[in-house]
Subunit: 508 residues, 2 copies
């Protein structure tokens, strides 16, 4: 096809306004739209969750294709139906409100649109990534030769750790594929991404051994060693956790590390949730005893308030280990004259956001002391909430366990949940009742539907795989994170739970 | 540890200013800082690439830990050393300047900080994702029951396609792992992410069969069938490409689809680069004949100007196929009462940015006609540049092939590259000379070092695996994408190449 003669008249950009001025006009409006939105979100009466169902929302946003008359109308519809993460009463998942500087840093990433696969496509991103990796490695007691990169979330960091471990221990798998069964060990309370990693890696769920946990939700190192010795395939990888997903338990590393040394297993530490607490907390508030591990995941997008996504994987054996495990040195992208700053080949991806810039900017803006203050506050709020649960007296309030870090797990059973009030009193003294799971779910559903508080529930066996193990009915799981949380927040959440419980069960 | 009595005095947020006002103040400054930066980037003389090395930059940004006196100073250091993707002379990789509304949409994502794993954590993100998936599926001729999600880049979309195919065809792999060799087929010119997927999946590089390509860089369907029939393991997956990484070739799908049907192979189509051209272009400008495929990757962060990252994987067999291939239904996150809008379990990840919101907002702001105009323009610029290469007369200019879509690949060999001018003339008539690769690399390195233009080179065999195959020396590979590109841009790039060539070789 011959090119048309009027090529330059086809530029889709409107020549009447340069992109810089279009951006200025849009960002100017966005500044007020977004700041007003946040102010509304933080007001005491702000709803947290839309009451529209997915199908209803889908109707509302069905238009696509024709140009909108007013993009700010569309954006206000989006903000009106988004989940309000700025409220102190958003206590739903392991992340919270982003820091304002984090929002600016995210905007910076979009403005730069640099790509962290090769140095020339993101020179400053590459060095800022190295800087935050160096500092996190120092805090975690890793050697100076540690390598590290950002990945699109804790799961991807964990998946990369497992893939790097597999290909480092069995280099022939990179070329020949898997032919013998490999075995992975992870605590029964660890995050599911280890299982997803095993599925992805061609290892299979049957070869993921769930290691028992003690009464505090921590991996049992003696059970681990027995399971390693009796494994049906070739053990190679152990995942320990700093801050389990539900209870927030920190696995005790020393003994686990000794087991791994004795059996030459790769020890990965998943600190997606609890990592920043372990690394930044004032020792008087929270202390954790590190031991040498091969790799570590930390998610600054959780406890450090960086906007989603910012997850970092550290690998003790350096970037060259990551590259030789996963790299292909594709000619077209990674030229032979490229240097150590071309890091993308150490990942399973290609194009990559320079997410580390966000952490670097937030770190410079606030200083390390802010991160310490932030995680200290989260820990103190967890302890505070546990105390408040213990002294409540309407119905039955009981902690599942003392908060291991920054999650508080408890039951609330209103008197009306039992026809005979004596039954409740009987349960106060002895074990737990299976009925409490239905009570928890019903209360949680009602609280969230009312929309003033967003909370969640979970259930785990505690301990697990031990003689005393018992399956626990579902309980409230409240993760503490946001610096906006106060004692009043905690009281409001407990009140909302109590009121919803009475509203449901005292009518029965 | 008992909670301290002064819990509420430890809030790390500065109580003197609410977050909304901190955000307003920061975004107000950011608006001007970023718009001024873009204006500088788009000026005719703006440098594209920093001249500082990684080690030099690393020195400059070594401070971390103490709070900075002025974050805008730090940010201006970052912008000053970032790669300038706003210039029309940034022609380095397959992405370009983001659209201004894309930057605003990215800021919106950060402000919302919603998380696309479960519906309640990102209700509006879930429905906007479904909306863009529905519309892209319609454009690609997929059925209404198609499932689709965003992933953190084209590689991750392709990796997920391969994992979903593997676990759908061999469901026992999810639990038992891989025990027999599986074989994957992809064109010799396809993106390396298919090989990375095979490494990740435990299949191994030796089981990735590189299918020969014809003189246009397109997969040879007859060769594919022969290779399938003679494979040493179990064939299950074929990757075809809309827009190969170097030449931009579009594989001819009909015959490939028939081969896949005959042998019951999953057919994936990697449209990371060329997908938007195939889907949105005016048929008079570019047309592509689709055929039924099982899955399709499209990266709006490339040809549609959405800020990095925005990649979408469509799966013909629906979201339930994705979920049953990869899902674990982790209790703590995906409650049994969760509905079809909880989609995260269909991915290998957990937390997930609602990237589809960016595409939805840009689509509404500009309308479909903008996307059509944008890809038409990119295609026309490629044809225009090819014509300009053909008529240049100083030294030897030669296209590697006619532009298949929106990449232009060519050699320039200055007279001075040969001691005897007759040698150059002799090469004008017959084949190519291995020396041209060194010439290309030297010129490219100098052009990029001068910093006014950023371009790249590549080398592929063309055809490949055929009797007439020849290894080609490295050539310039110019991807056209940005709406800011004009005929003047193209002339400036060719002039820069020519001048650098003369400066290097006429001095010899």
């Amino acid at each position: 096809m011959a090119p048309s003669t009027d090529l330059n008249t086809h530029s889709p950009g409107d020549a009447s306004e340069p992109a810089s001025e279009e951006l200025r006009t849009l960002l100017k409006t966005a500044t007020n739209v977004f700041a007003d939105y946040v102010a509304r979100c933080q007001s005491a009466q702000a709803p947290i969750l839309t009451q529209a169902s997915g199908d209803e929302l889908s109707e509302r946003f069905s238009q696509l294709g024709p140009k909108t008359a007013n993009i700010w109308h569309d954006i206000s519809e989006i903000t009106a139906t988004a989940t309000n993460t700025w409220s102190d009463r958003f206590l739903f998942k392991l992340y919270a409100a982003p820091t304002p500087i984090g929002v600016v840093a995210e905007t910076l990433l979009a403005v730069l649109n640099n790509n962290a696969h090769v140095f020339q496509a993101s020179p400053v991103g590459a060095v800022l990534e190295a800087a935050v990796v160096r500092e996190l490695a120092r805090l975690a007691g890793f050697p100076e030769t540690t390598g590290g990169l950002t990945f699109p979330g804790g799961s991807y960091s964990n998946i990369h750790a497992l893939m790097i471990a597999r290909n480092t221990k069995f280099p022939e798998i990179k070329t020949k594929g898997i032919s013998a069964p490999l075995v992975v060990f992870t605590s029964a309370h660890a995050h599911y991404s280890i299982e997803k990693a095993a599925v992805a890696a061609g290892i299979g769920l049957d070869n993921v051994v769930k290691v028992p946990v003690d009464a505090g939700g921590r991996m049992d190192a003696r059970a681990l060693e027995q399971l390693v010795q009796s494994a049906a395939g070739v053990p190679f990888f152990v995942n320990a956790t700093m801050g389990t997903t539900v209870l927030g338990a920190f696995d005790q590393l020393e003994e686990i590390a000794r087991v791994c040394q004795r059996h030459q297993l790769w020890l990965h530490l998943d600190g997606s949730w609890g990592g920043p607490l372990g690394l930044f907390a004032d020792p008087a508030v929270f202390s954790y005893s590190m031991a040498p591990v091969d790799s570590l995941t930390i998610n600054p997008h959780k406890l450090l308030g960086i906007p989603l996504q910012c997850s970092i994987l550290l690998v003790r054996h350096g970037l060259h280990t990551m590259k030789s495990a996963l790299g292909l040195s594709a000619d077209y992208l990674f030229h032979s004259d490229s240097d150590k700053w071309d890091v993308g080949d150490a990942t399973l991806g290609c194009g990559r956001r320079p997410d580390a810039i966000k952490l670097w900017v937030a770190w410079r803006y606030h200083g390390s002391a802010y991160f310490t203050g932030r995680v200290n506050h989260a820990r103190r709020m967890a302890l505070q909430m546990a105390e408040m649960v213990k002294v409540r007296s309407s119905g039955l309030w009981r902690l599942v366990c003392e908060p291991a870090s920054t999650c508080v797990c408890f039951w609330f059973v209103p008197r009306g949940a039992y026809e005979d009030p004596g039954e409740l009193e009987a349960h106060r003294a002895r074990g737990v009742d299976e009925r409490w799971g239905r009570v928890t779910r019903a209360i949680c559903e009602r609280v969230n539907r009312e929309g003033r508080v967003l909370i969640d529930y979970a259930a785990v066996d505690l301990p697990y795989g031990q003689p005393a193990a018992q399956p626990l009915p579902a309980f409230f799981r409240i993760p503490l994170n946001s610096p906006h949380t106060t004692r009043e927040t905690l009281a409001a959440v407990l009140d909302a739970i109590e009121q919803a419980g009475h509203a449901i069960f005292n009518q029965l």
